[in-house]
C-alpha cells in the first residue's frame, strides 16, 4: 500500500515543499456541505446547505452569528467552527467593552487566521478542519472573507466552500457584474441561492429544512433565516428562475446564451463534482 512519509505531523515539509497535514485539513472542508457568500458592496449574503446525519436527526447548523454586524458560514468540521466562532464572539465582546466600537471584520478574520496558523507550525497540534466564510459590515463597508485552516485569508466579492462548490463558483463568476450591482438584499439572496442550488446533486432540492439564509449590511443587523423563514426566499427563487432540473438551464436571467455555450466550463468541473459528491457520502461527520 502507498504510504506517505511526510504526513505524520503538521510541522514537517515534504521534499517538494508541501505540508500534507495542512492539505488534508483543506480536504476536510470539501467533505462538508456547501456554503456560498456574496457581497454587493453595501450588503453581504451567506447561504448554506444543511445536512442531517440521519432521517430522524436534526440538521447541523451552518451559519453562526458572531455579533450584530458579523456572522460566519462553515464547511467542514462543525465542532472546530464552534471553537472559532466562540473565539470571534469573545473578540467582538472585548471590542465593545474595552473600546466601545464594533469589531472590524478584517481584524476578526486576521485574528482567527493567526490562531489557525499556529496549528500549522506547532508540533503535536492539528490544523482546524473547517473553512469559514466571514461576513461583516463595519465602518469600512461590507466585507466577505474566506478563512482556511492553513491560516490564509482572502477577501472576495463572491466565494463558495464545501462539497461541489466549484459549481457555485462558476455561477458566481458568470454573474459577477449582476451581483456587484445589486442594490437590494432580495436580489442578492436570490443570486446566492441560485449559486447554492448549482451545488446540489441530481436528486436533491433546496427545501426550508436544508437551506439557511443570512444577510448583513448597511442599516441591517446580521440576520439568519431558517425553516419557515426560508420559504419566502425559496418562493422568490421559483418566480425568477426555472427549476434546476429543466433541460434549459437559464437561471442567470441577464445572459441566456452563455448558459448553453459553456460546455467547456461544465466539462472541466464535472469530474471534480462527482468525486466530491462521492466523498461527501462516505463521511457524515463533516457539515
Amino acid at each position: 500500500m502507498f504510504r506517505n512519509n511526510y504526513d505524520n505531523d503538521s510541522v514537517t515539509y515534504s521534499p517538494t515543499g508541501r505540508l500534507f497535514q495542512v492539505e488534508y485539513a483543506l480536504e476536510a472542508i470539501k467533505q462538508g456541505s456547501a456554503a456560498v457568500g456574496i457581497t454587493s458592496g453595501s450588503h453581504v449574503v451567506l447561504v448554506a446547505l444543511k445536512r442531517n446525519a440521519e432521517e430522524l436527526g436534526s440538521y447541523q447548523k451552518k451559519i453562526i452569528k458572531v455579533d450584530d454586524h458579523m456572522g460566519i458560514a462553515l464547511a467542514g468540521l462543525a465542532p472546530d467552527a464552534r471553537v472559532l466562532s466562540n473565539y470571534l464572539r469573545k473578540l467582538a465582546m472585548n471590542s465593545k467593552l474595552v473600546f466601545n466600537r464594533p469589531l472590524l471584520t478584517s481584524k476578526a478574520v486576521l485574528s482567527i487566521a493567526d490562531k489557525a496558523q499556529e496549528n500549522t507550525q506547532l508540533y503535536g497540534s492539528r490544523p482546524y478542519g473547517v473553512g469559514l466564510l466571514v461576513a461583516g459590515w463595519d465602518e469600512t463597508g461590507a466585507h466577505l472573507y474566506e478563512f482556511q485552516p492553513s491560516g490564509s485569508v482572502l477577501e472576495y466579492n463572491g466565494a463558495a466552500i464545501g462539497a461541489r462548490s466549484q459549481a457555485a463558483r462558476t455561477y458566481l463568476e458568470r454573474n459577477l457584474d449582476a451581483i456587484r450591482s445589486c442594490t437590494e438584499i432580495e436580489e442578492l439572496v436570490v443570486h446566492g441561492l441560485n449559486a447554492l442550488r448549482d451545488t446540489l446533486s441530481q436528486d436533491m432540492e433546496l427545501t426550508i429544512q436544508n437551506t439557511s439564509v443570512s444577510f448583513v449590511g448597511k442599516d441591517k443587523d446580521f440576520t439568519i433565516h431558517d425553516n419557515e423563514d426560508v420559504q419566502q426566499w425559496l418562493d422568490k427563487l421559483d418566480s425568477t428562475s426555472n427549476d434546476k432540473n429543466n433541460a434549459n438551464d437559464d437561471e442567470d436571467d441577464d445572459n441566456d446564451e452563455p448558459a448553453e455555450g459553456t460546455a467547456t466550463a461544465a466539462d472541466s468541473t464535472q469530474p471534480e463534482l462527482t468525486q466530491e459528491g462521492a466523498a461527501a457520502d462516505d463521511n457524515m461527520e463533516t457539515d
Binding site: 467593552l97 474595552v98 473600546f99 466601545n100 466600537r101 472590524l104 478584517s106 481584524k107 486576521l110 485574528s111 465602518e139 469600512t140
Partner: protein, 268 residues
C-alpha cells in the same frame, strides 16, 4: 467541643492554644505600599472645544512635593493621527499609561493593514476608563486625571475626562487639578452652555486657553510658564494637528504681587 457560639469556627484552644487576635486586627502587618500615593506630579491639563476642533494644553513641570524638580516633562501624548491625551498627576503612572497607549497603537497597526485609521478619541477614552477603573478595583490606582481630546466618529469635536477613580464626564471645557477650580470658570465665561461650543472660534479658544494658563501660573505654585499646546481642527474633510512644544506664558505682569498679603512671613 466548646459549645459557646463565640468559639464556633475557631481552632480549638486545646489543640492550637489561644487564638491570636492580632491576626484579625492586622493593621500593623499590612505591607508598605509606596505606589499608593503620587511622588512626582504634574499639575493641571486644560482643554476647550470650539467650532471645528479642540484645544488642549499642559505645562512641562514635574514637582516632587513642593519642589519644582523637573521642567521637561511632556504631558500631552499623541495617540494615532487625530487624538491627544493630556495627563496630570503621578508622572511614573503617566509614563506607564504612555507605554500602554503605544502598545495599543502597535497592535492597531498590525491588524489595520489597509490604514483605516480606526482608533479615534472615543475608543481611546473608553480604553483608558477601563484601565483606570480596573486599577481602582485592585486598590492600586493609577494616580492620574486624564483628558482625551479628538474627534467622534461623525467628526464632531470630542472631549472627555477620566480619573483615578474611573469617573468619566464630558464637557465643552475641561480641566484637571487646580485648573478645575481656576481655569474652568474662565473658560466657561466664554461659553456657558455645552451645546454652544459651535459659537466659539479657533482663535477665541486659543486665547482663552493661553489666558487660563497665565492665571494658573500666577496662582498655582506647582505650575511652570513653559507649556505644550495642541490644537486639533477638522477642515476640508481633513484633520489637522497643530502640536507646539516649549511655549512660554506671554504677557506676564506681576504688579499685583506687591499687594498680596496673608502668605508667608508677616509683611509691613
Amino acid at each position: 467541643m466548646n459549645h459557646d457560639p463565640f468559639y464556633w469556627g475557631r481552632p480549638s484552644d486545646e489543640t492550637y492554644g489561644h487564638y491570636n487576635h492580632a491576626i484579625a486586627n492586622a493593621k500593623s502587618q499590612i505591607p508598605t505600599s509606596h505606589t499608593q500615593q503620587p511622588i512626582i506630579t504634574g499639575t493641571s491639563v486644560l482643554a476647550l472645544k470650539f467650532k471645528n476642533g479642540v484645544a488642549i494644553a499642559a505645562d512641562n513641570m514635574g514637582s516632587y512635593g513642593s519642589l519644582l524638580r523637573f521642567n521637561n516633562i511632556e504631558r500631552l501624548i499623541r495617540v494615532g493621527t487625530e487624538t491627544i491625551v493630556g495627563i496630570s498627576g503621578d508622572i511614573s503612572d503617566l509614563q506607564y499609561i504612555e507605554r500602554l497607549l503605544h502598545q495599543l497603537q502597535t497592535e492597531e497597526e498590525v491588524y489595520d493593514s489597509d490604514g483605516g485609521h480606526n482608533l479615534r478619541a472615543p475608543h481611546v477614552h473608553e480604553y483608558l476608563s477601563r484601565v483606570m477603573y480596573n486599577r481602582r478595583l485592585k486598590m492600586d490606582p493609577l494616580w492620574n486625571a486624564i483628558i482625551v481630546a479628538g474627534f467622534s466618529d461623525d467628526r464632531t469635536p470630542f472631549l472627555r475626562y477620566v480619573d483615578l477613580l474611573g469617573v468619566t464626564y464630558g464637557s465643552l471645557a475641561l480641566a484637571t487639578g487646580f485648573g478645575a477650580h481656576l481655569a474652568v470658570p474662565l473658560l466657561r465665561k466664554l461659553v456657558p452652555y455645552d451645546a454652544d461650543y459651535e459659537k466659539v472660534s479657533e482663535e477665541q479658544a486659543r486665547v482663552a486657553i493661553a489666558d487660563s494658563l497665565r492665571v494658573l501660573y500666577y496662582r498655582d505654585a506647582r505650575s511652570s510658564d513653559k507649556y505644550t499646546f495642541a490644537v486639533l481642527t477638522f477642515e476640508n474633510d481633513k484633520i489637522n494637528v497643530d502640536y507646539k512644544q516649549d511655549l512660554k506664558v506671554e504677557n506676564q505682569s506681576w504688579r499685583f504681587a506687591e499687594n498680596l498679603i496673608g502668605y508667608g512671613s508677616k509683611q509691613q
